[in-house]
Symmetry: C2
Subunit: 228 residues, 2 copies
DNA sequence: TAGATTGTTAATCGATTAACAATC
DNA sequence: TAGATTGTTAATCGATTAACAATC
């Protein structure tokens, strides 16, 4: 096993390859070349091969490319989502509900284990399929986490005033990886072991497109655009 | 004017500084040091000063730091959102409505010019403030774009089956910067001038936190986490 | 003054690109 | 076979880090 020094940059590209392959929806028994991956992701074919080389993904066949099914499996291994990850969403507003029902999660082997809100009864009106995701009151959060030690990942979509309190509760309850959507600068509370907190923001890609448009940096016609 | 070679990397960090400053909500007449920017963004103070140096933002004062108000103005200039950018959202589902009403856009001088859907009457139930954003039927899209030549940016949140068609219509109507949320590989249609298409995906940060958690790469307690 | 913080240069580090032999 | 595509190495390029004189 090489698999060391996997930088954030590499992880990002691996996610991109994985996403693009899922979006293409090719039959698992066909092959895809690094050149074709360049066409759908915008990452150069040299970069693609370099990444696979460094990650020990040596499954390509000359003249054909990489077997799609096997490639997906390898990418999942690198992303460490080969053993079903389980996630909860805390805060069931429009964004929280959209995330909780986001269809691609299923296909990515990420299980949506629960959706928490202060008004569980009201949430059902924002859900498309009321039975797809279990909905709980936030008061049940601690009990839930104690009963589900496999759930260590959370998406935080509560109003910004509630975000720091909820982060503290999540970490105290054992959550160790959080994506935060509240526009606040939060602090990771002291706890056992490392905690990963990533602050995301809906619409942050807008900066990028506006900048690129104003600097004439668009893509060529027929291109699939850039990721993220 | 230096201001050349502004890489995607730099733009990303500039957005991060800008977002963090907005989130902090400091009074405009106070100062912030590169060290403090490191604490709230995770970007090293050396990197911060290097970025400002390359972008000709030489407004710091020894022993005090950078004046917040002026720094925000400079960052806006770099991001080219100093002259009110105008955006439309096409597809008023949960995500589309959340984006259209996303409060920070206002503070960022990004104007939400319209929200388009095939069922404008139904949309109001997903809006919090029914009068904050004008809602139109998608049939009015072409007329709207012709009447509003200042609107050249769109966020695409329609169902995936409709995404390519809608992208074609947007580009034909004069839109030149698009953030796409549909999980499809789209093609930029031929047109006058460059088009910027960025494919975003709600929840893509999940890959990052899951990876980092599984590799023990969390942040120290009391840290504000990483961005994006 | 002494300490803190900038602007700026130089050194290091890592990431991307280019090239090509191997081979299916 | 000839052409295409990989795996891998080496060369280039750019980005980050470190250091420090200037100075408020």
């Amino acid at each position: 096993m090489k698999r060391k020094n996997v930088s954030q940059r590499v992880i990002r590209r691996i996610s991109i390859y994985y996403e693009a392959l899922l979006k293409l929806g090719l039959p698992g028994n066909c092959f895809i070349s690094s050149q074709k991956l360049q066409e759908i992701t915008g990452v150069s074919c040299n970069q693609v091969r370099q990444d696979f080389f460094h990650l020990d993904i040596a499954i390509g066949r000359q003249k054909k490319g990489y077997p799609v099914q096997q490639l997906l499996e390898e990418l999942k291994k690198v992303l460490s989502i080969d053993s079903h990850a389980a996630v909860i969403v805390v805060g069931a507003g429009r964004l929280g509900c959209a995330l909780a029902e986001f269809d691609l999660f299923r296909v990515r082997h990420i299980t949506m284990a629960g959706l928490f809100d202060i008004d569980p009864a009201g949430v059902v009106y924002r859900l498309k399929n009321a039975h797809a995701v279990p909905v709980y009151h936030v008061d049940q959060l601690e009990d839930f986490l104690a009963a589900h030690p496999e759930v260590r990942t959370a998406i935080l979509t509560v109003p910004e005033d509630a975000a720091q309190d909820m982060l503290d509760r999540l970490v105290r309850g054992g959550i160790r990886a959080i994506v935060n959507y509240a526009p606040r600068i939060l602090r990771v509370p002291p706890c056992e072991g490392p905690v990963t907190l990533v602050n995301d923001c809906i619409g942050s890609s807008l900066y990028k497109v506006i900048f690129e448009m104003n600097h004439g940096l668009g893509q060529a016609p027929d291109s699939p655009g850039v990721q993220g």
